[in-house]
Structure formats: structure tokens, C-alpha cells
């Protein structure tokens, strides 16, 4: 069996996803980073963007993460985010509506948020 790492994806108010994975790709301030089992201890700042988790069963979990941190040590990876949503939970229509509205109102934060959600769905 391939080596695995344990992933905990936690948002401020709930635990979003946890399980075993073989690869996690996330976007940090200095570019995309991929973490595989046995990676050296790492602590980084995440940018808003989709996070891809390749589970050990061969599936893929994509989550929209809005700001936060990635920390990896002892084959345990934690993704901390203020807001995190799994791509399955995201309603495409409402995200698109949100994007339109945010653009119309010039709300940069909401626009980026909706954009990240849509990108997470697209990456599914």
C-alpha cells in the first residue's frame, strides 16, 4: 500500500473533512505546493483558492478555501481556514449569482470568494 498522510481540513466553526490521502495540493502565498507523505515539516500561509486532496481510495476531494494556513508534521497535515467548503457542498447557481452581484456592487472580497468557489467546482 502506498504511503499515506492524515489530513484534517478545519474551518473556524466546524471540521470540514478528515481522512487519509496520498497527495494534497494547495495554493500558498508563493505558489502552488504539493505535499506527499514524508514531506519535511511545513507551515505556510494559504491564498484563497481550491485545495485538491487525492484520497488513498483513489478519489479526489476538492475544497474552496478562503485564507488560512497549511501545516504539516509527522505525516499529519492540517489545513486551517476561516471558511472552507467542499466542492460538493457548493451550489453552482448561487455562486454564479453571488459573483454577478459582487461584480455589480464592486465588492472585491465577495467577488473573490465566489470566484474561488466556482474554480473549486470546475476543478472537481
Amino acid at each position: 500500500m502506498a504511503a499515506e498522510l492524515h489530513v484534517e481540513l478545519v474551518a473556524a466553526d466546524r471540521s470540514v473533512w478528515s481522512g487519509e490521502a496520498t497527495l494534497v495540493v494547495a495554493r500558498t502565498a508563493s505558489g502552488d505546493i504539493g505535499v506527499m507523505p514524508g514531506h519535511q515539516p511545513l507551515l505556510g500561509v494559504l491564498e484563497s483558492g481550491p485545495v485538491t486532496i487525492r484520497t488513498s481510495e483513489g478519489g479526489t476531494v476538492v475544497a474552496a478555501v478562503h485564507g488560512g494556513f497549511i501545516s504539516f508534521a509527522d505525516n499529519k497535515l492540517s489545513l486551517l481556514a476561516e471558511i472552507a467548503e467542499l466542492s460538493d457542498e457548493i451550489d453552482v447557481q448561487s455562486a454564479e449569482r453571488e459573483l454577478e452581484r459582487a461584480k455589480a456592487e464592486g465588492d472585491a472580497f465577495a467577488e473573490r470568494r465566489a470566484d474561488v468557489r466556482l474554480r473549486a467546482v470546475a476543478a472537481r
Partner: protein, 305 residues
């Protein structure tokens, strides 16, 4: 029916209605405590991981950051007081306010100027009534605070601490909230959020004996700390808000339970009094009839003779 009896009956009816209301409020509060506790539990993983990360950066690098270094002589401090929007919770709010006032006195005793930030209408009303200055206030979300609310509260506080003291900023940040110990015990506590003492944070983190690995920081230790500390403050404030909400509901439940019990006692006493009054009415009526009858008998006996 006698006047006295009618008065008792009316009071019994009114107390019974009150009892029904307090009973309902007790049950509502009981269900909300459970919900609030669940929220506290749901926010714990994030807080734990964040504390771990802060400890890791703090101990794993020699970075100096305004949020972790103590000012040589602190002259201004901010106190964040968490109260509730509504009362009917026994001594919940007055305990928190008292704790805040003690802390303020202590800080002023150390020669620091104190800025007060308040969450909850009760605390705001208390300070406004005494015409004391409030630096900033937030109301309307104390029953079920969300993370966005915590961010809203943390924003100005972090800004104040990052500002130079000379320009109206503060050196220290203290928080006063009601800790949820159990259903029966909630205590008002104060703690210093900033500057952060890493020993304290390390003592709080669950895995004390664990040796922290040498982290590779991405992009750099300073940047990570820069991003991490505001999140840490937000998460601590969020946790305090949630605990305060849970405590408030528990206090309400207890206050309403004793109100219900008291109403029950009152109804019992009033019923006894009403019974006695009714009995007295009957006794009086009988004695009046007997008296009247014998007077009548005496009168007729007299006329016969």
C-alpha cells in the same frame, strides 16, 4: 364570594400565568445551552490547530513581532468586555461587568490608561448610564455569535494594537468573558490576549510533551506570524463569544428554573390563604344565619308571651 377570596384567586391566576412563561423560557434556554455547547465543541479543532501553529512559529523561530513583544512600559490597555444583549440571566452580566471593573482598576493602578470595548447591550447600557467612555461597541449577536461577528470585533482591536501608542493605539489587550465550566458553574474570567506570552500558549496546547518539529516556513517565518496572529486573536475572541453565549443560556436556564420554583411556592401559599379565606367566609355566613335565626326565635318567643 368574599372580597378577600376574590383577591387571592386573582393573584393565583396571575402567578400561574407567570409560572407558565418562566417554565417555557427555562426549556428554551436549556435547548439553547446544548446548541451553544455544540458550537463551542465544533470550534475547538480550529482553535487547537491554530494554537499549535502559533507555538510552532513562536518557538521554532527567533522572529520578533509587535504582537508578541511586550512594550517596555505599557501605558495604554484595551479591555474587551463580553456581556449579553438581554437580561433575565441572574447575575450573569453583573458578574462580567464587575470582573471588568476590577481589571480596569488594577490596570489603572499600574498606571495604564484603559480603553473599554464592549459586546452586548447590557454592558453598553451599564457604561452609558454611568456616562463612561466606550471605545467601541457591538450588539445584536450575543445569543448565537458567528465567526464573522468575531472578525468584526477583532478588527478594530488588532488595528488598535498595531497602532503606535502615541497615535492612540494600545499596548495590551485584555478580554473579560464568562467561562462555561459546566451547566451549573460559569465564572467571569479575565485574560490577556496580547502581547502573547508563548509559555502560556504552550501550556494551553493539549500535547505538552510533544517535541515540535523544525518547520519550513512558507513564505517566511515573519509572514507566517503576521498572518497567524490576527487569526489567533480572532479565534480566541470567537471562542470567548461562544462560551459567553453558552454561559448566558445556562444562567438564564437557572434563573428561570428558580423563578418557576418560586412561582410554585407562591401559588401553594396563596392557595392555602384562599382556602382559609373561603373557610372564614363560610364560618361567618353560618354564624350569621345561626345568629339571625336565634334572634328571630327570641323575638317571636317574646311576642307570644
Amino acid at each position: 364570594m368574599g372580597a378577600q377570596l376574590r383577591v387571592y384567586k386573582r393573584r393565583i391566576r396571575s402567578v400561574t400565568a407567570t409560572k407558565k412563561i418562566t417554565k417555557a423560557m427555562e426549556m428554551i434556554a436549556a435547548s439553547r445551552v446544548v446548541k451553544a455547547q455544540r458550537k463551542v465543541a465544533a470550534s475547538t479543532p480550529y482553535a487547537t490547530e491554530l494554537t499549535r501553529a502559533v507555538t510552532a512559529v513562536g518557538t521554532g523561530s527567533n522572529t520578533k513581532h509587535p504582537l508578541t513583544t511586550e512594550a517596555e512600559s505599557a501605558t495604554r490597555a484595551a479591555v474587551l468586555l463580553l456581556t449579553s444583549d438581554r437580561g433575565l440571566a441572574g447575575a450573569f452580566n453583573s458578574n462580567a461587568i464587575k470582573a471588568a471593573e476590577q481589571l480596569t482598576d488594577r490596570l489603572e493602578g499600574e498606571g495604564k490608561e484603559v480603553d473599554v470595548y464592549i459586546v452586548g447591550r447590557r454592558g453598553v447600557a451599564h457604561y452609558n448610564f454611568r456616562e463612561r467612555k466606550i471605545a467601541e461597541q457591538w450588539t445584536g449577536f450575543t445569543d448565537a455569535p458567528s465567526y464573522a461577528d468575531a472578525k468584526k470585533v477583532a478588527g478594530p482591536l488588532i488595528e488598535a494594537i498595531e497602532t503606535e501608542t502615541a497615535d492612540g493605539g494600545v499596548d495590551e489587550l485584555h478580554i473579560v468573558y464568562t467561562e462555561f465550566v459546566s451547566m451549573m458553574t460559569q465564572t467571569a474570567v479575565d485574560s490577556r490576549l496580547l502581547p502573547l506570552s508563548l509559555e502560556e500558549v504552550a501550556a494551553e496546547s493539549p500535547a505538552k510533551d510533544e517535541i515540535l518539529p523544525l518547520y519550513d516556513f512558507e513564505p517566511s517565518a515573519e509572514d507566517v506570524l503576521d498572518a497567524l496572529l490576527p487569526r489567533y486573536v480572532e479565534s480566541r475572541i470567537y471562542n470567548a463569544l461562544l462560551q459567553s453565549a453558552a454561559s448566558k443560556h445556562a444562567a438564564t436556564r437557572r434563573a428561570m428554573k428558580s423563578a418557576t420554583d418560586n412561582a410554585g411556592d407562591l401559588i401553594e401559599n396563596l392557595t392555602r390563604l384562599a382556602n382559609a379565606a373561603r373557610q372564614a367566609d363560610i364560618t361567618q355566613e353560618i354564624s350569621e344565619i345561626v345568629g339571625g335565626a336565634s334572634a328571630l326565635a327570641d323575638a317571636t318567643a317574646g311576642s307570644d308571651r
